[in-house]
């Protein structure tokens, strides 16, 4: 019985010892948990960005000209964009506000044809508050790289644009230049190569590439456009995307303003590149 009393006391002392040990480590543990949680918010934000934001803001937040501004850009982080918009709060508040509430009207000084949709559940969007916070954490994590240069600003279109008449004659195209254009500021690859937001350009899972598909599609039944050749079909798909929407995809996802952004040469180059994908 003495042994039991001794054991009991010993166990009690051990309990107190562990209590103190754990207690001493608590501030550290809580800080670690907080750090880990903040990191995981960034991870969560990255995958939400991939699903929801990438089609317009580009895979690396570099923006797509005429569609959505760059996020991975110095002006967002050095205060000049906030100043241009006339927002006097903090950057996290600005980003959170824009994501949660969206943009019913374009910001001062910009004229993007599409509006930023509402994402926050409190304004009728699909994302919970913690998901919006995760996106904010992800966007703000671009700060270091953005201030060190970030992505190049989206180049503005130069010279006369090609327009929406698919009957016009185009100059000879250069497929290599078209490829570079599609991977650059136009952002085509974001939806047509890297993700399946739009029909895949390269051959994919039994389907031939976009160049081969174009040859038959304008003659297929159910086609609603006016193209009479594969080149015209791709031209039409680029500048009048809603003239015919491929089965399984939605209208209005593709930017509607390439007619006002592309020069005739750019268009010809892009078409040459697309036709080369078989």
């Amino acid at each position: 019985m003495k042994g039991q009393i001794a054991l009991g006391l010993l166990a009690f002392l051990a309990l107190m010892g562990v209590l103190v040990l754990v207690g001493v480590g608590e501030p550290n543990r809580m800080a670690e948990f907080t750090a880990a949680y903040d990191s995981r918010q960034i991870e969560t934000g990255a995958s939400l960005f991939e699903q929801s934001c990438r089609p317009c803001h580009g895979p690396q937040g570099q923006g797509i000209g005429g569609v959505a501004p760059a996020l991975n850009a110095p002006d967002l982080f050095d205060g000049s964009r906030l100043a241009a918009v006339g927002f006097s709060g903090t950057l996290p508040d600005y980003v959170r506000g824009v994501i949660a509430a969206g943009r019913p009207v374009p910001s001062a000084g910009t004229n993007y044809p599409q509006r930023m949709p509402t994402w926050g559940a409190e304004y009728g969007g699909p994302l919970r508050a913690d998901q919006v916070d995760a996106l904010v954490a992800f966007v703000l994590n671009w700060e270091g790289r953005a201030l060190a240069g970030g992505s190049a600003a989206t180049p503005a279109p130069t010279g006369p644009t090609v327009g929406a008449d698919i009957g016009v004659a185009l100059p000879a195209g250069d497929a290599a230049r078209g490829k570079a254009l599609s991977e650059g500021g136009l952002g085509c690859t974001g939806c047509h190569v890297l993700a399946a937001v739009g029909p895949s350009w390269p051959a994919d899972g039994g389907e031939p590439g976009v160049g081969a598909r174009a040859e038959t599609r304008f003659q297929a039944s159910g086609y609603t456009g006016k193209a009479t050749s594969s080149e015209q079909y791709l031209f039409e798909s680029t500048v009048l995307p809603n003239a015919y929407v491929v089965d399984g995809f939605q209208p209005n996802i593709m930017p509607q303003n390439f007619a006002e952004r592309l020069s005739a040469q750019d268009t010809a180059d892009l078409l040459a590149y697309m036709l080369s994908l078989r």
């Binding site: 009393i5 009991g8 166990a11 309990l15 562990v18 809580m30 670690e32 750090a35 995958s47």
Partner: protein, 530 residues
């Protein structure tokens, strides 16, 4: 003459006896009142194991105090050893009280609303001193309690202690088993993460199957508060967990323990003649008194168990890491019910939801409840109960088998390619890829088959594991299976890792592909189990 006189009896005593003797008498008086009958000297005697005086003062607290009024003053020497009780009933009680205490601590930081419950959990883990260890202890003790309660029931069956006259004690015990299981289960939902939502959804979907449809639909509405879990369902489970079930448990425990004491702890089966019950007739020389032996032992058990539980929760055991926020639209691959309901999940895989999810478990519960009225043979001896004990062993084996069948390893049809990716990137726990050292994830594209060429041991291990599970994708319908892991620099301190499985479908030669990406931050800290 004073108009008003303050009378302090203590002062009279000081006047009469002097200060020190008066204080000493007061002390003795207070201690005797608090202990309901034991003076400081008596207590010292208890701790020293002195022979008690006559009449034995150590019996007074049982007679006069509330807390010991049900506790027997002495036990039979034959039930005092580890055998036959294994202390399982005592342990169940200990865990029950332990759950109440840790539960109250957790309640302080919790609000049962889907809007804030998950945030409350984050706050508990990131901002409340001892918050994590309390959660771990609450969960650890809950799991242990389920184990201990089930073992307690098995023990009672094996020693035949549930036979006449203790049938009703057994029935209250079955109620307590049920309360324990549902308590544990209802607590699952409260963190409001993916694990919570889906583990409980599996359980709750059972009630939806109750025929006819109108009953099932309405019972489901009662349980979940809406067609799917949401604010009402969470509140209902919370109230079940913190009010209704503990209350039911305490009442059932009162009856159960009263009955145990009323009939006496049953002696080992071989100690009595067949059909005899001598538990209440304890010869003088076989008595082990509560004070001092049992009391000392129970006190040291409590302090020992507290130390073990606390240390285990602090250093060895972690409650499952908080998963992403509950999302009714995304079902994680490999969702399972809590382990003690896996047998039920296994039954559901056997056949019809109504038959195997409701009728069979319902019959089993009913059978358990009336078991002592079915096995009415007078003998408690093992040798005389071969059939009953064999059936019980068979039942335990069947439950183990069904539990295995409840796990994702058995008869879950998912695509082997998704399974292969989930091996490295599981959806219900961190898994090898997230736990791997972040620095070792070198940028590049790595073929699983060429794992030996990867730049470091971490990647080699991951790729080899990937390569191993890819053999499961290979089948009569799929050839040329290959796997690639692509690691990209995505942001400051953030890497994107993509696992891609490609194959050729045999009949038509078309290519198939499945890929999944994960973003990993330098400080994600998955290796810590947090």
């Amino acid at each position: 003459m004073a108009i008003f006189r303050l009378h302090i009896p203590m002062l009279d005593e000081v006047k009469q006896k002097g200060l020190r003797p008066a204080l000493k008498d007061k002390w003795v008086d207070v201690v005797t009142r608090v202990t309901a009958g034991l003076s400081p000297d008596d207590m010292r005697g208890v701790l020293r194991d002195d022979t008690p005086g006559r009449p034995n003062p150590r019996l007074t607290p049982h007679a006069e105090g509330f807390w010991l009024h049900m506790k027997p003053t002495y036990y039979h020497r034959m039930v005092d050893g580890l055998y036959p009780t294994f202390r399982l009933g005592w342990l169940s009680t200990f865990f029950g009280v332990f759950e109440i205490v840790t539960g109250i601590y957790l309640m302080i930081y919790y609000t049962p609303s889907p809007l804030v419950a998950y945030e409350n959990m984050l706050n508990l883990l990131s901002n409340v001193p001892f918050g994590q260890v309390m959660r771990d202890m609450h969960r650890l003790a809950a799991e242990l309690m389920v184990i201990v309660v089930v073992l307690h029931m098995l023990r009672t069956f094996i020693t035949g202690s549930y036979k006449k006259p203790r049938q009703f004690t057994w029935a209250t015990g079955v109620v307590l088993l049920f309360v324990t299981l549902v308590l544990s289960f209802s607590g699952y939902l409260l963190p409001w993460d993916q694990l919570s939502l889906w583990a409980v959804t599996i359980g709750a979907s059972m009630v939806e199957a109750i025929p006819p449809e109108v009953v099932g639909r309405n019972v489901n509405l009662l349980v979940r508060g809406a067609p799917e879990f949401g604010a009402n369902g969470l509140l209902r489970f919370y109230l079940l967990h913190v009010v209704a079930l503990p209350l039911a448990g305490i009442v059932a425990f009162g009856v159960h323990y009263y009955k145990v004491i009323h009939h006496g702890h049953s002696l080992p089966p071989e100690a009595e003649k067949v059909g005899e019950d001598t538990a209440k007739r304890v010869p003088m020389d076989s008595r082990v008194y509560f004070m001092p032996q049992i009391l000392t032992r129970e006190l040291w058990y409590v302090s020992g168990l507290l130390a073990i539980l606390f240390a285990a929760a602090a250093y060895l055991y972690n409650a499952p890491a908080l998963e992403p926020h509950a999302n009714p639209l995304i079902t994680p691959l490999h969702t399972t019910a809590p382990w003690y309901f896996l047998w039920l999940q296994g039954m559901l895989k056997v056949g019809d939801k109504v038959v195997w999810g409701l009728i069979v478990p319902g019959l089993l519960t009913g059978l358990l409840l009336v078991l002592p009225y079915l096995e009415v043979g007078p003998s408690r001896r093992y040798g005389d109960r071969r059939i009953g004990l064999s059936l019980a062993a068979l039942f335990v084996a069947a439950m183990a088998m069904l539990s295995y069948m409840g796990t994702p390893h058995y008869a879950v049809s998912t695509s082997p390619d998704q399974e292969a990716v989930a091996e490295l990137l599981p959806q219900t726990h961190p898994g090898p890829l997230r736990s791997a050292p972040w620095e070792d994830l070198a940028y590049g594209s790595f073929e699983a088959s060429a794992w030996a060429a990867a730049p470091n041991a971490t990647l080699q291990d991951l790729l080899r594991e990937f390569d191993d599970v890819l053999t499961n994708v290979q089948s009569a319908g799929r050839t040329d299976v290959a796997g690639v892991m692509v690691i990209e620099d995505w942001q400051t301190d953030l890497k994107k890792v993509t696992l891609r499985v490609t194959w050729t479908n045999v009949p038509d030669g078309t290519a198939g592909e499945f890929s999944q990406s994960v973003y990993l931050h330098r400080n994600g800290n998955y290796g810590e189990g947090a």
